[in-house]
Symmetry: C2
Subunit: 345 residues, 2 copies
């Protein structure tokens, strides 16, 4: 007897063996009220025996639904993005959806091809975080024009009327600066991120506002742009700050590697952290707890971002056909993680 080895058993196979029609088998399997008890039993027994699994591809073709969502992300290996993916995956799992993941490696061309491939695979919806390189959006226009729900996370384009989830960078910059001010630091410098990015500008703006609100001076020479955000760059760009006649007593770095570089530069110059100079970072990684002294940082809720983005996606997917879905643009709050590097007292 053919045990269906290396050939997935189909409804037809069951129908043939039972001398009934495929239609009846199909109905029996979904417990349709029309079908007799006996037939149902015979069908379900055989289905169990042969470990029948409905062919999702065939279902997708009929229903025009794949129960799959696509995710396009700049880099899988970044701690932040892997958290986002994890959040998306957990929610999708609960909903019985599969997740296709593509990484762009920060290349627009690869982003375009990935979107294209996911569209060809007829994903039910697409979650996208733009590559740093991406300047044009035709590939995403195709998504929305085709009627496929699109949700942005972390890196969005404002050219689209779609839902999105981003971090509140302004608030993060504010929180970091406020935290330093509350710890008693008065002369707070800022190692900014690349200022062509909105997110860097927002953190910078939050920094300025917090200075104002806490009655501290804003000094242009206390702000230095770190274009790459590496440890090395943080180290090099902190040195001149320490050579100032009126040197800062705290540093807020817009990313953790730069903060770690600052930490080293300060220690190398013979000053103490946090007694002489406090340092706070902005966390892309989970590294901050390991340096010495442990680095205070602003945490970005990656997992939550993924879960929220997925939630917005399912909201769109579950809407009745044609029903207009209200777009949400969610801004997630950051949190201050206070560690040794800012414990002035």
């Amino acid at each position: 007897m053919d045990m269906g080895n290396s050939h997935q058993v189909t409804i037809k196979d069951i129908a043939r063996e039972l001398n009934i029609s495929p239609s009846t088998v199909s109905r029996a399997l979904k417990d349709h009220p029309d079908i007799s008890k006996d037939t149902k039993k015979a069908v379900s027994d055989l289905a169990k025996k042969y470990n029948y699994q409905p062919n999702a591809i065939a279902l997708s073709l009929r229903s025009r639904k794949t129960n799959t969502i696509g995710v396009v992300v700049p880099q899988i290996v970044h701690f932040f993005f892997s958290n986002v993916i994890s959040g998306i995956e957990d929610i999708a799992y609960d909903k019985g959806y599969n997740v296709m993941v593509c990484q762009t490696n920060e290349l627009q061309e690869r982003e375009e091809k990935s979107v294209q491939a996911l569209l060809a695979s007829r994903v039910d919806g697409l979650l996208v975080s733009l590559s740093k390189e991406t300047k044009t959006y035709d590939h995403l226009r195709k998504v929305t024009d085709g009627g496929t729900p699109l949700v942005f996370f972390d890196r969005k384009s404002d050219d689209f009327d779609v839902s999105s989830v981003v971090i509140d960078d302004y608030e993060g910059g504010y929180q970091a600066t406020e935290h330093l001010a509350k710890q008693g630091y008065k002369k707070i410098a800022h190692l900014a991120g690349p200022l062509n990015l909105t997110l860097s500008k927002s953190r910078y703006a939050g920094y300025q506002q917090a200075l104002k609100d806490y009655g501290l001076d804003y000094r242009r020479d206390y702000v230095i742009e770190c274009a790459n955000g590496t440890i090395e760059e943080g180290y090099q760009k902190t040195k001149p700050l320490l050579d100032l006649r009126d040197k800062p007593d705290a540093v807020f770095a817009a990313n953790d590697p730069a903060a770690i570089g600052a930490l080293k530069a300060i220690k190398d110059s013979g000053l103490r952290v946090p007694q002489d100079i406090g340092v706070i970072g902005f966390s892309d990684w989970q590294l901050a707890s390991l340096v010495e002294p442990a680095l205070s940082s602003i945490s970005q809720p990656g997992y939550e971002m993924g879960a929220e983005a997925a939630r917005l996606m399912f909201k769109a997917l579950e809407a009745a056909k044609g029903e207009e879905v209200e777009k949400e643009n969610i801004v997630l709050k950051t949190n201050v993680i206070s560690r040794e590097s800012t414990q002035k007292k």
Copy 2:
């Protein structure tokens, strides 16, 4: 005119507009030699105009190939596994395949459901790293019984005659110990991983062999098991070692967090790293470079593991139907990353 908005244009649509049959459109699109130049041009013009994309679902149903591979991984957020996924994704991208990723969160039940879901989605092949909990393998039997290629990575079961890629943990343990010996350390302790895991036992065995090869004493009281592998545990379990009358002059920890804990314990006790005691870890994360002193470590090639596993998968997928594919069980070498914590001289 209907621009096909919110309805992907099909071959039928093009056929209708051109008053030809779908068969002809299909052939024209694939540049079939039978079709006239004029027809081809008309078809391809219209396809371009409407941005026609072949429906991959329909193709899959016909060809019984989805051009999708499934990945089942314990945790997406682990640096090591995210590297593996990244490696898989890059290779799959080059081959024009999509990747579905499921995480089990180390739960057997979720592993079973994920495998089941991927099978239902008719992935062409499955790459699996077992959850820590997994004790039975019926869900994976279904994969191989159904004729779907299976490849294990990192955590495998030996009950299957399938290809696999793992890390050479024995060699890694050997390398770590050898490195310490070559740096001039003589009394090398070992913070072992949970010894019910094969990988911990292998690292331990490599440690023992290297001691022997370098003429160093193996002392049972120099070996301590760290069940959780946390920083805290590494800290606590290192202290007794430092209280020994004849204390070790080096520590090989089977994982990085434990090594970092050891580092702290040693520094807290007033001893210096690397002058008094050398420390080397085994790297699950990318953290080792950040602690002070920077931690030497054994690196596990996660990206390469993913790329190799994908390569093995495509080897199976590209084999002619029915052709027997030779199974490969690849063991990837680790590398010594030498940093400050072992620079005795």
